[in-house]
């Protein structure tokens, strides 16, 4: 990991709805992602995790705060050149390979679509070669280029989705629940492929998911998001072994373990926001130990520090 973050999100806010009655989907989120790492963003539906991913690739506009990519601001108004640069360097992999591929286009076009839009000088032949190479890179045969998406299984379709991102030679990939819609045996294949590509090309991933058990395997660091706010951020092992925030604890206790002897017979731990008393002390986002951030009020942070000191 280099010192300079490849992507910085600073106090990001995203609103939906009308200006008069906005809904705050993301309410001030800050984090850094370093080159070559896999950064996990975990939360339940409606937490704003996907919204952050989409704000990064400029599908949604930021209502406040900023996003820096390689030190340059990429949120809000930016120049055309920078916009094209960002579209190239930041790519996305979507959740459902059944829904995210154009049913009426051949694989050839689906994979090359980004090239048509950003690099018009390419000849037909160069483009074809690039598509072939991208398909080979994700473990598909070049012959598949002339087929339609419905001819493929779920795992193969997700590979096409990955090829489509790779052909742009991105540096940063936002993977929004890339394996949630896949079968157990196919998940492993796609995860392996993503890990391999990361090693070969030094890719950086923002991995968005609701499934903590998968994230433990592939993420270097994980941020926990709840209702548009980050609750806790730490490297994966710290987060799993010493979760501080009650929401992180609730989330971890809810993950079913694939081992009958570890069965949980007690009712699951629930997280209730009203357990926090923020009437006197307002909560802040605080680095409580190096690399470990947590949200809490001053008395809560004090309690967390005690827990850390006791080990």
């Amino acid at each position: 990991m280099s010192e300079q973050p490849i992507l910085s999100v600073r106090d990001l806010k995203v609103d939906f709805g009308s200006h008069r009655k906005p809904f705050h989907a993301v309410r001030g989120v800050s984090f850094d992602v370093f080159r070559g790492e896999t950064f996990g963003l975990v939360g339940e539906s409606g937490s704003g995790k996907t919204t952050i991913g989409r704000a990064i690739i400029r599908i949604y506009e930021a209502a406040g705060g900023e996003i820096l990519f390689r030190g340059q601001r990429i949120s809000g108004r930016i120049s055309k050149d920078l916009d094209r640069e960002v579209t190239r360097k930041i790519q996305m992999i979507f959740q459902d390979p059944m829904a995210s591929l154009n049913e009426r286009a051949k694989v050839d076009y689906i994979v090359a679509e980004g090239l048509y839009n950003t690099d018009r000088r390419l000849t037909q032949e160069q483009r074809r070669q690039k598509v072939e190479q991208a398909l080979l890179d994700v473990g598909l045969l070049p012959e598949f280029a002339s087929r339609f998406p419905h001819e493929f299984s779920g795992g193969q379709r997700q590979r096409i989705g990955i090829a489509r991102a790779l052909i742009m030679q991105p540096e940063f990939i936002v993977a929004d629940e890339p394996i949630s819609a896949l079968d157990v045996s196919i998940r492993a294949q796609v995860l392996n492929l993503m890990a391999e590509l990361q090693k070969e090309r030094g890719l950086t991933y923002l991995f968005i998911s609701h499934d903590l058990s998968v994230m433990r395997f592939i993420c270097d660091r994980i941020a926990v998001i709840h209702k548009g706010l980050l609750m806790e951020l730490a490297d994966t092992e710290t987060l799993f072994r010493h979760p501080l925030h009650p929401y992180t604890q609730a989330l971890l206790s809810a993950v079913p373990m694939p081992s009958p002897d570890l069965r949980q017979d007690e009712p699951p731990v629930l997280y209730d926001e009203s357990m926090h008393d923020y009437s006197v002390h307002l909560p802040v986002w605080c680095e409580i130990e190096p690399g470990h951030f947590v949200r809490g009020s001053e008395p809560e942070l004090e309690a967390y520090r005690k827990i850390i000191a006791e080990g």
């Binding site: 339940e44 392996n192 395997f217 079913p256």
Partner: protein, 345 residues
């Protein structure tokens, strides 16, 4: 599993579908006993036939599907012989009820949830309106919906996903069924809600003395709910045993592969185990062991003859030639030992 009386017995069941002029063999000669009071989980990938199998118990096969041969014995009757809707109505809901994956599609958006629960009560248990009202309130209490008197007049869209699934469970329980089939009941829900619903179902199973069939592809869920586990592959049950037997002492190479590819067993930086190839084409006749082409340890006989179910223990069977006395001994993949370790807290 205190009592060992089968409440439902499936024998040599074959189910076929006709699709675009071709015949698809979806369930291939499956036999299964469901014991009173137990929770059986059926796991398998999509297309393995786990949903189709349970749909035959309720006469819910799609129009292009039929039971080709075999029997389903339930309360002395053979459900495989049922033809008319009238016959099925004596079973459906009243004796065997189902909870489906997506609560939004199993509820009627135009009716209040009170009306939908009442419907089942008045139809199946011939209650009058006020009795049905009382019972509806009780049911909503049982499934943990707060303030039922107000909620009863609300429509499905006013409920959250988890609450909707609770309503669906209340409808399923309304007629005191013998068997409850849960088809991926928590797949569409968040993990914290999933944990609550699983806990709720476990409580209700005790309270209503239900026999439950759980269909899922999530092995984490299986480990948390099931007494027994059946593993399905290509329309066939390849292994069945108690939960501990299947997780800690699996015998079929497919079960090994399925367990090994769990991301939970992986270590960061290492390659995850993954099953090569794709599931077999069920349009074509399958010769031998259906998993053989994807099995790196496949024996020659695996490609030629279908293995019988070998008994491992009084409760554990697996359909693999590896259990034949003449087969070479093969140890399960080492990674499976991580299942026992308590390294994930």
């Amino acid at each position: 599993m205190e009592e060992k009386t089968p409440i439902l017995s499936v024998r040599n069941l074959n189910v076929k579908f006709s699709l675009r002029g071709k015949v698809l063999h979806a369930i291939r000669d499956v036999s299964l006993d469901l014991y009173k009071g137990e929770t059986l989980a059926i796991v398998g990938e999509s297309g393995s036939g786990k949903s189709v199998l349970t749909k035959t118990f309720m006469g819910l096969l799609d129009q292009n599907g039929w039971i080709d041969s075999g029997s389903i014995l339930f309360q002395g009757k053979d459900l495989a012989k049922y033809k008319t809707e009238k016959e099925w109505l004596t079973i459906r809901g009243g004796e065997i009820a189902m909870v489906l994956q997506d609560p939004m599609t199993s509820l009627n958006p135009l009716k209040t949830i009170g009306a939908q629960i009442r419907e089942a009560l008045m139809l199946h248990r011939s209650m009058n309106k006020s009795q049905a009202y009382q019972r509806t309130i009780e049911l909503l209490n049982d499934v943990g919906i707060p303030d039922p008197v107000r909620r009863i007049r609300q429509y499905p869209h006013e409920f959250s996903g988890g609450m909707r699934q609770r309503v669906v469970i209340a409808i399923a329980l309304a007629c005191n069924p013998q068997i409850l089939i849960c088809d991926e009941p928590t797949t569409a829900l968040d993990v914290t809600i999933q944990a609550q619903i699983l806990h709720l179902i476990r409580d209700l199973v005790k309270k209503y003395a239900l026999t439950t069939v759980y269909i899922t592809h999530d092995l984490g869920v299986v480990a948390n709910v099931a007494d027994r586990v059946a593993v399905m592959y290509a329309g066939d049950i390849v292994e069945i045993g108690t939960s501990r037997e299947v997780f800690y002492d699996a015998r079929h190479p497919y079960t090994w592969a399925l367990l090994s590819s769990l991301p939970q067993l992986g270590h960061r930086g290492e390659k995850l185990f993954s099953i090569q190839g794709t599931p077999p084409n069920l349009y074509a006749e399958i010769k031998g062991d259906a998993f053989a082409p994807r099995n790196p340890h496949a024996l020659k006989i695996d490609f030629e003859r279908r293995p019988p179910l070998f008994q491992v223990s009084p409760t554990h069977w697996a359909r693999t030639w590896l259990l034949h006395p003449d087969a070479p001994s093969l140890d399960p993949p080492e990674v499976l030992q991580r299942l026992r370790q308590e390294e994930w807290q």
